[in-house]
């Protein structure tokens, strides 16, 4: 029974789950939830995901939602030998991984997501940008990436010496901001550039970057 993703192909979080499926060679069936038509707010979908966002998954009857936990679940269930999540018995490596996952969530995700909304989604819908907000978000995101530059000068990946989900989680927004919004976020930061070049050229990301 294939792993089912209830999602929308271009959605950030749907692509985040599809990326990890590709990394682990887990075949999946994408069951479309049409966001422009509001299907994510329909009662049948809300039974799967009470907050009304995509994606949700069904793995042979086991259902869950939230893209990053789904990614962790995929690694736990299908990633035998995978180092995308450290062995829980290694408490120190796990702590550094959790620190990096928390950094992505608390420092990167919100400003990056809102910038993408302002610079790419709003123009697509014919809505005006909020220039003041864009300025503030750029200042925030740039200050965070300055810290990333320092961290990545001392270690190859955000969690330490090994690539983990913490690095991969950044891909949807960072790809969107650099390739679609055409922001220059990485070229002036050699370590961020090195790190982004590596994670974005992975075949798994290339396979889903423009649609899960």
């Amino acid at each position: 029974m294939p792993f089912k993703i209830y999602g929308f192909p271009p959605s950030t979080c749907t692509r985040r789950v599809a990326l990890v499926c590709k990394e682990l060679n887990v075949p999946y069936e994408l069951i479309p939830v049409n966001i422009p038509k509001g299907e994510h707010k329909a009662p049948e979908y809300l039974k799967r995901q009470p907050f009304g966002v995509v994606p949700a998954i069904d793995d042979d009857g086991f259902t869950m939602f939230e893209s990053r936990p789904v990614a962790r679940y995929l690694v736990a269930k299908y990633g035998k030998g995978s180092t995308l999540v450290p062995d829980p018995k290694d408490i120190i490596a796990t702590a550094k991984f959790e620190q990096a996952v928390s950094v992505e969530n608390n420092h990167f995700d919100e400003p990056a997501g809102e910038l993408f909304l302002q610079l790419v989604i709003k123009p697509m819908r014919g809505l005006p940008k909020d220039e003041e907000r864009v300025k503030a978000l750029l200042a925030t995101l740039n200050s965070k990436l300055d810290v990333y530059e320092m961290v990545l000068a001392k270690q190859p990946y955000l969690g330490g010496d090994i690539l983990t989900l913490a690095d991969l989680f950044h891909l949807p927004w960072l790809y969107g901001l650099t390739e679609k919004a055409k922001l220059d976020l990485v070229t002036s930061r050699p370590n961020v550039a090195r790190w982004y070049q590596e994670i974005s050229s992975r075949p798994a990301w290339q396979a889903v970057k423009d649609g899960a």
Binding site: F62, M64, E66, R68, P69, P88, A95, N106, E110, V147
Partner: protein, 215 residues
């Protein structure tokens, strides 16, 4: 073995989150006060340990770690019998789902509504401009929480986990100025919330986190 050192302000939200979990696990710790009002968390010496210039961070016998939820996960991992992080694969997946629900569906609006109430109570800042809009967002999120909590006792299932405890600071702060967590139309949210805020680990630091060596 040196006592765990918690570098932070005694009153900030993330410090309260960390200290609550330390207390739940009965881990002795020393609070080393960082004077955030005078910018002590932005000095070069501080940034060496926490490069984003935020509190808290810990020094656990030489191991440095920041991000309050990562710290909580680390100490819970050292006490697996607490059950605060389930290990059964499906229970763990649902635990992770619950921690993500807190991050994506609670913290953004509860933080932006709760923090202004808290800062006003501390006498640090009086600006409630952002509160109404964020309470409106939080109200809709809590309807989804009601749907979840009507089927199970806690956010990850029927046992308490870190995912529930992570809500404490902002759930408590929002309640300083709103009854949104205890409205009668959401009896399960109210039940869950009231249980959380009556835990001794939360009540212990109502007047600020302090060094705790005995439980």
């Amino acid at each position: 073995m040196a006592i765990l050192k918690l570098y932070s302000s005694s009153v900030t939200a993330c410090t309260r989150r960390t200290a609550t979990v330390l207390h739940e696990l009965k881990i002795p710790f020393e609070l080393i006060e960082v004077d955030v009002l005078s910018g002590a968390h932005k000095t070069p010496e501080f940034l060496k340990f926490q490069p984003f210039g935020q509190v808290p961070y810990i020094d656990d016998d030489g191991f440095i770690l920041y991000e309050s939820r990562a710290i909580c996960r680390y100490v819970a991992a050292k006490h697996p019998r607490s059950g605060l992080i389930p290990t059964d694969p499906k229970a763990n997946a649902l635990f992770e789902q619950a921690t993500s629900i807190e991050l994506t569906n609670f913290e953004p609006s509860a933080g932006k509504a709760g923090l202004p109430f808290y800062l006003k109570k501390l006498g640090w800042r009086d600006d409630l401009t952002d509160v109404p809009a964020n309470l409106e967002i939080l109200d809709k999120k809590l309807d989804a929480y009601e749907a979840i909590l009507s089927k199970q006792r806690y956010l990850a299932g029927d046992t308490l986990t870190l995912a529930d405890l992570f809500h404490l600071p902002y759930a408590g702060f929002v309640s300083l100025g709103s009854d949104i967590m205890t409205r009668p139309n959401r009896p399960n949210v109210a039940r869950w919330y009231n249980e959380l805020v009556s835990r001794p680990a939360w009540l212990a630091y109502q007047d600020g986190v302090k060094t705790t060596t005995e439980y």
